[in-house]
Symmetry: C2
Subunit: 355 residues, 2 copies
Amino acid sequence: MADTAPPSGPAGTPRSGRPRYGARPTMKDVASRAGVGLKTVSRVVNGEPGVTPDTERRVQDAITALGFRRNDSARILRKGRTASIGLILEDLADPFYAPLNRAVEEVARDHGALLINGSSAEDADREQELALAFCARRVDGLIVIPAGHDHRYLEPEIAAGVATVFVDRPAGLIDADAVLTDNFGGAREGVAHLVAHGHRRIGFIGDQPHIHTAAERLRGYRAAMETAGLPVDGSWVSPGSTAPGRVRAEAERMLTGPDPVTALFTGNNRVTVTAVRVIAELGRPVALVGFDDFELADLLSPAVTVVAQDPARLGRTAARLLFRRLEGVEGAPRRVELPTRLVPRGSGELPPPSA
Amino acid sequence: MADTAPPSGPAGTPRSGRPRYGARPTMKDVASRAGVGLKTVSRVVNGEPGVTPDTERRVQDAITALGFRRNDSARILRKGRTASIGLILEDLADPFYAPLNRAVEEVARDHGALLINGSSAEDADREQELALAFCARRVDGLIVIPAGHDHRYLEPEIAAGVATVFVDRPAGLIDADAVLTDNFGGAREGVAHLVAHGHRRIGFIGDQPHIHTAAERLRGYRAAMETAGLPVDGSWVSPGSTAPGRVRAEAERMLTGPDPVTALFTGNNRVTVTAVRVIAELGRPVALVGFDDFELADLLSPAVTVVAQDPARLGRTAARLLFRRLEGVEGAPRRVELPTRLVPRGSGELPPPSA
DNA sequence: CTGAAAGCGCTTACAG
DNA sequence: CTGAAAGCGCTTACAG
């Protein structure tokens, strides 16, 4: 008899209508179990009209019995769009980018898209590798916080229809949508704030100058000093790595030399935190304004005055622009610049020591 | 002549061998342009042996000319595994989970897999929706920080071969791999530390008790008190929302009542930060130990003593376990528990006010 | 209302 | 060394 076939254990059930272990039932399996055609199953799964209640029920029963779940990868292959976007940031672990990440996710979710994530680790090669891997998966769009300065490698992808928006820093050597913070204006305002509180000797410690945001902030510092008619001594300006060791050394040098600065403008949150430590160890108050807000800045004493960006808004704006492009909005690449906000908390309002 | 066909603008090039705008060249396009078979292109693209240098060059030229990039979605459909994993956490914007996220990414990268991300927003329905969406995309594996307490919805997926590891909190109503922190032991140690510094009246403010980690930490608090032979007044124990308003009210109540506690044990980083604010406003030192480390804890005054978890290790451990499962390691579900580390910084070593 | 055929862009299993 | 055929699991376009 046909039933004398060897009993099928959990690891392999050749009996028709049931998938083998580790495999998954397909629409074909559902169709044969329900005794209908493939297209009818497709109609039920996708809620398309034109199926009698009785047929629908039979299909639903088969779906439940087999534990069928539509394979969206196959669907996607046929439909063209993948309903997924890729986001490349510098470091998924960096608290500064976390709200940006979440904001992008929310917008993607509103549009029914999934989010693929990756960290460039501030390495141009890794950025490219990730971006192209995402494109190979045929993401509909790409949001990139660039690490590199040459994005020509993306030209074929963009031409092929991958919507691409750069955030936080502009693209290099290609013309593309970008959503940025007004780094120049923010830094200028922060330094002007120190000037307004009587400082004339203001130090700048920032990130490496090849990073766009760092260069812009340094430019803002210089502009504020020039506007105020203040000279800038070369020894007051220190762009470079944000490694605590270097920042610490530079802050100590500027604050304890023969003719010390009376205030510090720090170019990003990591620099600011190290500067706070140095000042605390110094034992005397030093005026400080930092670029980027950070948690607990208000709990330190003195509380730290900052030029705040809005990372969530950066992400939201970029993602919305991306989906607008995907919906067919054409036009020249856009450059959106978001404002900063000066948050006075105490450290930036300290006067210079009365000479 | 054939060349009298209407000129083809950028939006549509019917000329054979070139894709229309917005579409992408396929292996078939490459094959016909190079004058070879489809399989030969596949061999070149995948670096398989058995192609003469001359043929290979012709194929490479066609690839370059057309800007071909293999469609990994199609490849995946045929191969079975998608080389992607999904990670569901509570909130991509939460700095606590950011290092976990990055650690998972690094392990995935080591295994050539991409990372799809999502936030449950502490909502069980949204967790399920995300998990099933990831499964529909046929991720190879799933790492979940669960929001819900019933994960039976994942049983068909797990049976179908989706490797699944829970992190930070265990799965509900199913038996599955889990990587957890020793919340009980950590809390017990933190409270015992306060006891060792002379405190007998210690308050506990924690998260909602239906959250596994919160319940475990409360259990640790009670165990430490009991071990020390100290009674626990009901008014000293406050599990509930971590919203600043509630935490603030509870901290103020415990610290300013008729018979106030002399020390506070706070159940997570958000609670700790609010407690620090309340204590700062109070104007007198109060001993404090918090569960979870946080940035700048050492810069506050007094610096905050914490029971630290290692979120990156949590993520790394979970991801490694996941890939071991994907490599075929069978066996009963595992439960890994990672130790905490008490970090004395000052606030936890304050003595009770001399009565 | 229902379904057979063709095709999305690859890989697998074979055959020359 | 090379390639035609079949198939991964769906959807599209059509026909009954």
